[in-house]
Every structure is written in structure tokens, then in C-alpha cells.
Amino acid sequence: MQTTFHIIREEFPSANERESRAACVASKNTHGAAAAHASGIGIIDFSRTIEDTPSGAKTVAVREGEAEFRPDFQAERITTGELLRRMRDEDWQQANPHHPISYMAQALRANHSLGRAIAEKKPLVSFKRGKFQALLTIGGDKEKQRRLLTRAGFTPTEITEILSAL
């Protein structure tokens, strides 16, 4: 079994969770992963983590693959109205899948979809103890989290404090 993928990890050192989340969504690497998705290359998963330093990080994993581009269109000049019409006309895009307007439309849709998913997915909160790193979900199963934190060597008092903060 061998799987190859690209792990893109970015850190967003902001004390403000909302700012950090917005930066995750706006990052060029998010755009890149969305473009891969629009090109038929799968996104394996993505996550955000809240850490002490920096305050936030984002990971997106994209499967290794190949994207094929076959531009197939005549040079043309079109009006603003026609550009706007084609951008919202999915039937036109389906009939002209290799036109730059179709590429733009798909990439923008994928970017919006990925950005929304990153913003809405609950982040993991990181707690380190020696060689262990616990990545815990906000609002997760407290009993399971207690077991993991115990395995990592946190004291009962520390565990109670951590779980009450999640």
C-alpha cells in the first residue's frame, strides 16, 4: 500500500480566532487546493488546529494526480453582459468545458465551497505533553478525550481544566 499526497500546512499567528480562520480561507494555498479539486484531483482532507504558538494552523492534503487541460476556444471579444451571462449559465459551461470562462467558474465555485467548509469545520485544539500531542475536537466526547489525555500523561486536574475549556 503506497499513497502519495501533498500536505500543505500553513501557520497563522494571530491571537484572534476569527482573524486566523479568515486568513485560512483567504490563503493562496486554499485557492490552489480548490483549483486542484476543480481540475478533478481529490482533496483528501483538511483541518484547522488551534495551538499555543502560533495560535492557528491549517492543513490541506491533496492527492497526487494529473490534471489535463485542453484549451479549446477561439480568440474572441465579448461584452460585460455576455461574460456575466456565461459565468452564471451552467448549460453554456457544460457545452464549452474547456473555455477559460468555464475554468474560472469551476475554480471560483470550488474555492467558495472549500472556503466555506474550512470555516465551518470545527477546529482541533492541540495540547502537548512531552512527546505526546493530543488533538481534540471542540464539543467532542469528553470520556474519549479523557482517556486520550490520560494516556498522554496529563494529571486529573489538568484534564478537568482542559475538558472544561473545550
Binding site: 500500500m1 503506497q2 499513497t3 502519495t4 499526497f5 501533498h6 500536505i7 500543505i8 500546512r9 480548490a34 479539486h37 476543480a38 478533478g40 482533496i43 483528501i44 482532507d45 483541518s47 488546529t49 494552523a57 492543513t59 492534503a61 497526487e64 451552467e90 459551461q93 457544460q94 468545458p97 468555464s102 467558474a105 469551476q106 465555485r109 470550488a110 465551497s113 472549500l114 467548509a117 465551518e120 469545520k121 470545527k122 477546529p123 482541533l124 512527546k131 505526546f132 500531542q133 493530543a134 488533538l135 481534540l136 475536537t137 467532542g140 466526547d141 474519549k144 478525550q145 482517556r147 486520550l148 494516556r151 498522554a152
Partner: protein, 105 residues
């Protein structure tokens, strides 16, 4: 038309138990214009390693294993082997061995 919307998978609690990595650097020894050896240049770093991740739910390659891997293996990563077992105390334990090329694109 186009790819499907990107859905949200549930994050799952994860404990990174151990990480073992070994970094290799290819080196080139250059000669300067006088034929003397110049400073060696290190490039194409390659990290071989393994990571042991404990979870409370089953997982495939992906999921929060990727988050666990990302702290040591961002870049192009080849997961070479993955074993998955349930421990006696009822955790899901996953061992991954990987090769990582942090500078590759």
C-alpha cells in the same frame, strides 16, 4: 457540471504517540573557478519516518492522520505502509511509515 461540492468531514480526537524521523540531505561539492573545493550545498532534503497515532474511532489514510502527519511531514509525502489495530484498552492505533520531501512540489 464540474466537481461536487466539498463536504465537511467530522474531525476526530487524535493522540500522536510517537514520531521517529531521519533526515537525509543530498550534498553537492562544488569547485570554485580556481579548481578548489567550494562549500558543499545541501539540497533535496528527504525525511523518512514513522508516526504512531492513537484514536478512538477507526480511520483511513486521510482524516486526522493527515493533521498528525502535517506537523512532521508537510510537503510531498508518500505513505509507504499503514497498519491499524485495536489495542487491549480499546483504542484504535495506526502506524504509518512515510517518506517526505518537504521541498518538493
Amino acid at each position: 457540471m464540474g466537481p461536487a461540492d466539498i463536504g465537511i468531514t467530522e474531525a476526530s480526537d487524535t493522540l500522536v504517540q510517537s514520531v521517529d524521523i531521519e533526515q537525509k540531505l543530498s550534498e553537492v561539492v562544488r569547485q570554485d573557478k580556481d579548481g578548489k573545493f567550494a562549500m558543499a550545498q545541501a539540497f533535496d532534503p528527504e525525511i523518512s519516518g514513522s508516526i504512531k497515532v492513537l484514536g478512538t474511532t477507526g480511520d483511513a489514510v486521510g482524516g486526522d492522520l493527515v493533521t498528525a502527519l502535517a506537523s512532521v511531514a508537510a510537503g510531498v509525502t508518500i505513505v509507504k505502509e499503514k497498519t491499524h489495530a485495536t489495542t487491549q484498552d480499546n483504542f484504535d492505533e495506526t502506524d504509518l511509515s512515510f517518506v517526505n520531501f518537504p521541498g518538493a512540489s
